[in-house]
């Protein structure tokens, strides 16, 4: 679509919108207002939002009404002569008291809702959510399920600058992930947010839940979804370069489906662990390494290993990636504290690590030998 076409489409859309602005149903698509969400809390928050909004609108109409009346009727060109009053204690007292009363009226329901939000006791499922630059790690504490969730590949491709992909063709552009979390409906799910590097915030509007993920601390919050479905959200705290690209997808399913999912995840984990000890050929390593690289490293070190110096160093020709293998394994496994280079020990298994290190040592002009999963295991 050419730029002009796009603009035209936009303008038409805009005017249609203006025409349809009357009936509320037409607004729905454009989402002008806060979502009601699918939890009791999100609904209460919505009501609170509407309450304050309406109060403000009413007060606004009152105040603006008076001003507009003056602007129209008390203008010099209409022969208005200025009165000279400039004080009235009575009036001042009245218009100090009225807002005060209104505020107290707002504060009462707000307090109730807040107390409910902060009560995360008696949860049925507990999920630890860890923010990483720029993905989420989910640990189901009681089920022993753990995985990472990052921006889906389709979105990731499309969001590259001048990718040539029309983002309207990508399903749920920027709001889809490679692996969503799955939770049971009508159960109290406790979310424990924390972070591995900088502050992130886990936010799903429909669940009425936003909570910061702070490195070194754990914040508790909870939700109880009352409708099955897929709910999408995003990281809501600036966390560096790809802050805009770490979405959250929550699938709320019924109890049985949830159970099945948990079992499947547990079996998958066992299979992967078994596979990761074996020695691999170079071509195997390279193929797997490329995938791991694209999924985990490319965001910073870029697709051709050129990095974004000086913030993110190039790996092509880098001293570490072409030098002694020990230093290379060390920085990938343990990261470098105080920089964006994170420890991948937890995120990737031995085979993945061996593969990605081999890949880095043998791509973009580098040529520095291979690494086997057993080497990684020893270096951990």
């Amino acid at each position: 679509m050419s730029a002009i076409q796009t603009i035209n489409k936009k303008l038409v859309g805009f005017f249609c919108l203006a025409l349809l602005a009357g009936p509320t149903s037409a607004w729905a698509d454009y989402a002008l207002n806060m979502t009601k969400g699918v939890t009791k809390i999100s609904e209460e928050v919505y009501d609170l939002h509407m309450l304050v909004l309406i109060i403000c609108t009413v007060v606004g109409i009152g105040v603006f009404g008076v001003i507009i009346y003056s602007l129209i009727n008390h203008r010099k060109s209409k022969g208005a002569v200025a009165a000279q009053f400039h004080e009235s204690t009575t009036v001042e007292v009245i218009w100090t008291t009225i807002p005060l009363v209104i505020l107290i009226l707002i504060a009462i329901p707000a307090t109730g809702t807040l107390l409910k939000i902060e009560d995360s006791s008696d949860a049925d499922v507990t999920i630890k959510v860890t923010g990483w630059q720029w993905k989420w790690q989910y640990d189901y504490l009681d089920e022993n399920v753990s995985f990472f969730s990052s921006l889906s590949e389709a979105s990731n491709k499309a969001r590259q600058r001048d990718s040539g992909i029309n983002v309207y063709d990508v399903k749920h552009y920027l709001l889809s992930v490679n692996e969503p979390i799955v939770v049971p409906v009508n159960k109290k799910v406790r979310i424990l947010t924390t972070s591995n590097d900088v502050i992130h915030a886990w936010w799903v509007p429909a669940l009425g839940l936003k909570r910061d993920a702070i490195p070194g601390y754990i914040n508790e919050s909870w939700f109880k979804a009352e409708k099955t479905g897929t709910y999408r959200g995003q990281c809501a705290e600036l966390c560096g370069k790809d802050h805009g690209f770490m979405p959250i997808v929550v699938e709320v399913v019924d109890q049985d489906k949830y159970k099945q999912w948990v079992v499947a995840k547990q079996e998958q984990a066992i299979a992967e662990a078994a596979a990761s000890g074996k020695a691999m050929s170079k071509s195997e390593l390279m193929a797997r390494g490329e995938k791991v690289y694209k999924g985990n490293c490319m965001a910073c070190h870029q697709d051709k290993g050129q990095g974004l110096p000086p913030m993110f160093p190039a790996l092509a020709g880098s001293k570490i990636a072409t030098g002694p293998v020990k230093a290379h394994m060390d920085i990938v496994i343990h990261g470098k504290p105080g920089t964006a280079m994170q420890a991948f020990a937890q995120q990737l298994n031995d085979a993945d690590l061996a593969a990605v290190i081999t890949y880095e040592r043998n791509s973009w002009g580098n040529s520095a030998g291979m690494v086997q999963p057993s080497d990684v295991k020893a270096a951990r």
Partner: protein, 292 residues
Amino acid sequence: MVQAQGSYYLPKPSYWPLVGSIGLFLTLGGFAYALVNKTDAGMGNMTAMYVGMAVIVFMLFGWFGTVIRESQAGKFNDQVDVTFRMAMAWFIFSEVMFFAAFFGALFYARQLSVPWLGGAGNNAMTNELLYPGYTAAWPTNGPGEVGGKFETIGAWGIPFYNTLILLSSGVTVTWAHWGLKKGNRAQLILGLLATVVLGFTFLGFQAHEYFEAYTHYNLKLTSGIYGSTFFMLTGFHGLHVTLGATMLTVILIRCIKGHFTAKHHFAFEAVAWYWHFVDVVWLGLFIFVYWL
């Protein structure tokens, strides 16, 4: 507010402020450059910083010299004097707020963050999942035992002597002030000299304490939150004592030169105020950093 006699002195255009700005820019820019290029081997190139510091010293001599000359020439009437007083008072207030930030950090760590790491308040899971086995206590270098085991400096040794030293220096400077007001030069100079000596003695003790901390107690700037707050607060205070003692020295020299009269000696008073402020901050330090 005073009744002005004569007229308010307005200085003519001056290049000192611009020189000062350039000095500040070079100093801080140079320091930043050195830090940004810091490696394990040490700081980056610091030439610009040193040049900047020299420019600042040059500016201070030039600017203060001008002010002193103006003062000696009797250009500052009482109203100007009031301006100076207000300016100094508000400057000290700004310093109070600067210290408040660090005291705030100390209180926050002691009352909130460390207990939270130990599981207090709504942070039960923080302790359970991230730091099992860590119990909150003060002093601490955190669950990561950052900087390794360390010992703290007891309140009743050097810190206590330093308290006495600073308190008595507050007395001596006041005594010197009385001398000045009475026109008793000997009392003025003696009192001021004592203050300066006490000030530098304080600094000597503190340097010794730092040395001990680093060599014998393994208490360092890097010793977790305890080391951070300890050295930040005492170090920042020490910097102020250094500044105050230096200014007192300048004032002492000016007194010896006979710059001040019983009525006209705002510079003396400003430094005395500053000294008292440094004194009071020390009391806060003594209580909250060393004692409690």
